[in-house]
């Protein structure tokens, strides 16, 4: 039996090649994902372990203490460090100081991207954490050491003067040294600047204090022994101590969990590709069984049992699955390597280098997935093969596709579709998070329902295309009729495409709508031309607001600062603004009272007002953070948005009570709107400071949408995989149709249909099936996009459904192109068909 199965595999190479390809793609995706994530997390784990090489025990401020009052902050002082160093078993203790430090490249642009622009201290004369590659350790306020990666990117060398900023003013120290480091942030593309300890403490406003004390054990002392010793040596309850190994483990765990979510989403896409592949496999084997009806019947006639027939089909599937799994695994290793170098080449993230990890688990998963999926998909066709009666060996007709009634199927499909739709609709009415799983479940059920219903849907939908097809004359008419001839097969083929397009369309709708919401958020609320903030969105020195106000061309400006306070019975953040200018910088619709921020008059956003039951004219009792009490009057209620919400208070009223005078951002309006020259003037006035961002509205929305676009493009790439698999499915179905209809095609050729018309007929059938899948997919996608938008919309109030019609049209055109491409080979085969054989096919 095995030999028969093997022979069959070899006899239908071309057909099975497609199946192999479909399975292979899925397996490649799965194993590629596993290889990639394993490799990356392994590399991170190794590098993080290296990063803690010099830390045997880390001492950090006690976490159990209150931290709202700066006076009571547990302090890691020099005294504490010295006593840690003197603890038995300790070799020496390094005091660590950290903070935000922006370095500019030669054009004044920020290096390291804001959140990864780090600064720290170089400990002593030889810091084991940072081996110097060039130069000497930084000494004094005028010297700095920078990491080799940043130096290389910006082209800085020892002796260069560089521009940098810690909290506002621009500094121009000399590069004293260039060091290498395993620091995870730097490995991920960040920058690190080191000062001598005293300078670092001064710059980061931590004079005499450390953020962390790293203690290295003397030879022969274990980390736990040192931990115990330190526990005894240091004042109890004020500090936390953790071993380096523990830190490394924690970090490894957090890396693993962050890789986990990425792995899960990648595997989900692989799953989709495989799911689509199942249809193709099932179709292929159905076709092979149909083609071999006579042969199988003969086997039955000469005495093969039903089980033997089924087994021979399954064996065939096993061989195909094994071949596909092995090639898929190999391709997957390639994909994993490719993905790693792709990620490494992005300048936003650098991945630590390490060997490609192909774990036994990956190999096992790939093989199991490939083989199991193939054999399962071949199960039904295999059973159908067993049902071929021996007498079929004598009859001359091919096994006709079963004309079992679709009533049961349609009923189930209708029920599922209805339930899914209802669930989705119900989910969109629920509040944010609780609606998510409901919509998700509904979407899954609806997809399954539509899936089951596709044979029923194929007739009316394809009939709708009839007027278009009529243009192509007989070929068009025949194509239409052929495409509804075997509704099950058409449905299975179209479904594969449908799934891919549903996801692509859904994502596009969501992304498009979100994009518009973001644009609106930035545009609708703001009259300001520029928003000035720190690159890492930390506090901005009040000097910045003063400098901006004094810059030529600026007609209005207002800093925005936050201050906690108790208002009425609950805690709120008061937002300090320039009461005089704020009205010209924002365009906030007022629903109650008037927009007046001056003295005790404040405005409140509608959400807060609604929650608290405040109205225009209400007087509020306030306790500021410095403990002083006062009264504020609600002058008006405005419609808040994501950029501006809360209680807006005049600076003059708020400033005297603020403990932290820094601003979150400064809104700026200029005489001639957003123009390059004014932006330049602003940047010049701020000293071309790399730490300060001057953004116009477009910059703000572009900054947000960049992440979006990147994500969307990645997803498109992944989904393309599912579409490729779907194309293979269309090819398969057409090949099957052409085969089954060879007699008809032969007759048509005989009575005068020329080759190009035959080709056109097959091509049109393909296009019709593809478009059918495309229309279903786009329809479902828009619906899901809408539903997901409802959930998002409950949180972002500028969110509104945007259906990118042009894109949808492009998707449908793409579906048609898929159809044309998929028809290439089957159409050629149909046109080349030997008429005489076809006529006499018996």
């Amino acid at each position: 039996m095995f030999r028969t199965a093997l022979r069959n595999v070899l006899a239908h190479k071309a057909r099975l090649l497609m199946t192999v390809l479909a399975v292979m793609l899925g397996v490649a995706f799965v194993s590629g994902t596993l290889v990639f994530t394993n490799t990356i997390s392994d590399a991170y784990r190794k590098s993080s372990a290296k990063g803690f090489d010099h830390v045997d025990v880390a001492v950090t401020p006690g976490s159990g203490r209150r931290s709202d009052s700066p006076d009571e902050d547990p302090e890691l002082t020099e005294k504490l460090r010295a006593s840690a160093e003197k603890a038995p078993g300790a070799a020496f203790a390094t005091g660590v100081v950290e903070g935000f430090t922006a370095i500019a490249d030669k054009h004044g642009k920020l290096l390291g991207g804001g959140f990864r622009s780090q600064g720290g201290n170089y400990w002593g004369s030889k810091d084991p954490r940072y081996p110097l590659r060039d130069g000497h350790p930084p000494r004094g306020a005028d010297e700095v050491a920078i990491d080799a990666g940043t130096a290389g990117r910006a082209g800085y060398h020892v002796g260069d003067r560089i521009r940098m900023s810690v909290d506002g003013p621009v500094r121009k120290p000399v590069v004293a040294g260039i060091f290498t480091t395993d620091d995870g942030n730097v490995a991920a593309g960040g920058s690190l600047a080191l000062f001598d300890t005293a300078t670092a403490q001064k710059l980061f406003h931590k004079e005499g204090r450390y953020d962390e004390i790293d203690v290295e054990a003397a030879p022969g002392t274990s980390q736990t022994e040192l931990l115990d010793a330190l526990g005894r040596a240091l004042p109890e309850g004020t500090v936390d101590t953790t071993t380096g190994r523990q830190l490394a483990d924690d970090q490894a765990r957090s890396i693993a969990s962050s890789m986990d979510s990425m792995r899960t989403s990648l595997l989900a896409f692989a799953g989709i590709a495989l799911f689509v592949g199942v249809f193709i496999i099932a179709n292929t084997f159905t076709m092979l069984v149909a083609q071999r009806t006579k042969e199988l019947a003969l086997l039955r006639a000469v005495g093969a049992s039903r089980r033997q027939v089924t087994r021979s089909v399954l064996l065939e599937a096993l061989v195909v699955g094994a071949v596909a799994a092995v090639t898929g695994l190999l391709a997957g290793i390639g994909i994993g390597a490719g993905m790693r170098s792709l990620v490494a080449s992005l300048d936003t993230a650098t991945v630590p280098s390490g060997p490609l990890v192909v774990s036994p688990g990956t190999v096992a998963t790939a093989l199991a997935v490939g083989i199991v999926v193939t054999v399962l998909a071949a199960w039904l066709p295999g059973r159908r093969a067993a049902k071929i009666p021996p007498v079929a060996a004598m009859s001359s007709v091919h096994a006709r596709p079963t004309t079992r009634s679709l009533v049961l199927r349609n009923t189930i499909g209708a029920l599922f579709s209805a339930a899914g739709t209802l669930l989705v609709l119900a989910g969109t009415r629920m509040a944010g998070d609780s609606g998510k799983p409901v919509v998700g479940l509904g979407a899954a059920v609806l997809v399954i329902g539509v899936f089951v219903l596709t044979p029923l849907l194929s007739r009316p939908l394809i009939a709708a295309a009839a007027p278009l097809l009529r243009v192509f004359g007989v070929a068009g008419r025949l194509a239409r009729q052929n495409s509804v001839r075997n509704p099950r097969r058409t449905a299975a083929t179209a479904s594969a495409l449908m799934i891919g397009l549903t996801l692509i369309t859904g994502l596009t709708v969501i992304a498009g709508s979100a994009q518009q919401a973001i644009d609106r958020m930035a545009v609708s609320a703001l009259q300001a031309d520029y928003v000035v903030s720190m690159a890492n969105y930390n506090g901005l020195s009040p000097d910045v607001a003063r400098t901006i106000a004094a810059t030529g061309g600026v007609t209005a400006s207002s800093p925005m600062s936050d201050a906690p306070a108790r208002v009425g019975s609950s805690r709120h953040f008061l937002t300090g603004v320039d009461g005089h200018d704020i009205g010209r910088l924002t365009d906030l619709p007022v629903s109650d009272g008037s927009f007046r921020v001056s003295g005790p008059d404040v405005v409140v956003d509608d959400q807060t007002a609604h929650d608290q039951g405040w109205r225009a004219g209400d007087s509020l009792k306030v306790t500021y953070e410095d403990g002083k009490a006062g009264r504020l009057t609600v002058a008006g209620v405005y419609h808040g948005n994501d950029m501006i919400r809360g209680i807006l208070v005049d600076d003059a009223t708020l400033r005297p009570h603020q403990s932290d005078p820094t601003d979150t951002q400064v809104l700026v309006k200029t005489a001639h709107g957003p123009q390059g020259s004014v932006k330049d003037a602003l940047e010049r006035a701020l000293g071309n400071n790399p730490a300060i961002l001057v953004q116009d509205k477009q910059d703000i929305s572009a900054g947000i949408s960049k992440t979006f676009t990147l994500m969307l493009n990645m997803l498109y790439g992944l989904l393309a995989m599912a579409v490729v698999v779907a194309v293979l499915g269309v090819v398969n179905t057409l090949a099957m149709s052409v085969f089954e209809r060879s007699q008809e095609i032969g007759m048509l050729r005989a009575i005068g249909l020329d080759r190009s018309a035959v080709k056109r007929m097959v091509r049109l059938e393909s296009v019709v099936i593809s478009l059918f899948g495309g229309v279903l997919g786009v329809g479902l996608g828009v619906f899901f996009g809408w539903a997901a938008g409802k959930l998002i919309g409950s949180r972002i109030d500028t969110y509104e459904l945007v259906v990118p019609w042009a894109r949808m049209a492009v998707f449908l055109v793409m579906a048609a192109v898929v159809g044309v491409l998929a028809a290439m080979w089957p159409a050629r085969r149909a046109a080349r068909l030997n008429m005489l054989n076809a006529i006499h096919a018996e």
Partner: protein, 268 residues
């Protein structure tokens, strides 16, 4: 409609094969399917081609009908020489000048009887001649079956639809490949009767391949093939006469089967 005397149109040749040779394969495995066959098919005549299986009768029909290419010689349909035609031109020739009736009916299951009948015209993009269509449909008794699909028709009805399809475009010549092979004798007789009527009443030219002497008896003339050559010919045949001739053929009943055997080469 008057019966046209056969003799009156004898000079008009609808199709002619001259020294037609068809060879399959090469060297050792070479098989000569047609060996310098020359034959005329006269207009408004019903010709049957007979011969034992393997005699080349189907091959001859395929070559003359432009379905198959040939190794040497010449084939003309009317004034057109087939040997020099490209596939596209051959297709057009079949579409416009030739009608076909197949053993397995070969109707499109998705089309109604009416649509099947007009299919060749649809392919050509021509409007069918309504009056003619009605006449053909009326003659074949298909008037109440036009909206049916092939699966709703009996075998005989299906073959009548196929005959109507062949007649509908008024081709210069109709080729039938065992048109009654899949029919019971009553339905077969019916179809053959229609074919004969189309010759007698409508002046249609019909060439039919068959191995059934009863079917051949409906023809005006029977051409006998054996081993790729024309070996005999019979005018105004009866079933018995055909059967007698068949017995005498090489490869026929009782005769030794083999190729390369000497046989009369007759030009008709």
């Amino acid at each position: 409609m008057t019966t046209t005397p056969i003799a009156g149109r004898a000079t008009v040749v609808a199709a002619r094969a001259t020294e037609l040779t068809k060879v399959y394969g090469q060297g050792e495995t070479q098989v000569v399917a047609l060996d310098h066959v020359s034959v005329d098919f006269r207009a408004a005549e019903f010709t049957a081609i007979m011969g034992p299986s393997g005699s080349g009768k189907s091959t001859l029909m395929h070559c003359v009908a432009g379905l198959d290419d040939f190794s040497s010689g010449s084939v003309r349909i009317g004034d057109t020489e087939l040997g020099t035609l490209k596939d596209r031109q051959l297709t057009r020739l079949r579409r416009d000048k030739i009608g076909f009736i197949f053993q397995a009916f070969n109707l499109l299951p998705t089309l109604t009887a009416q649509e099947n009948i007009t299919l060749p015209m649809d392919i050509a993009g021509r409007k069918p001649d309504k009056q003619w269509l009605e006449e053909v449909v009326g003659m074949l008794g298909l008037g109440d079956r036009l909206a049916h699909r092939p699966s709703q028709l009996s075998g005989g009805q299906q073959q009548r639809v196929a005959v109507a399809r062949a007649l509908a475009s008024r081709p210069e010549i109709i080729f039938g490949d065992e048109p009654t092979g899949n029919l019971d004798s009553r339905a077969g007789a019916e179809v053959l009767g229609f074919l004969r009527n189309s010759v007698r009443q409508l002046g249609q030219t019909v060439v039919m391949v068959t191995h059934d002497p009863v079917a051949a008896a409906y023809a005006d003339r029977v051409v006998f093939l054996a081993d790729g050559r024309i070996v005999d010919e019979l005018h105004g045949p009866t079933a018995d006469a055909v059967l007698d001739r068949m017995r005498m053929l090489p490869g026929g009943t009782g005769a030794p089967h083999g190729r390369g055997q000497a046989a009369a080469h007759r030009t008709v």
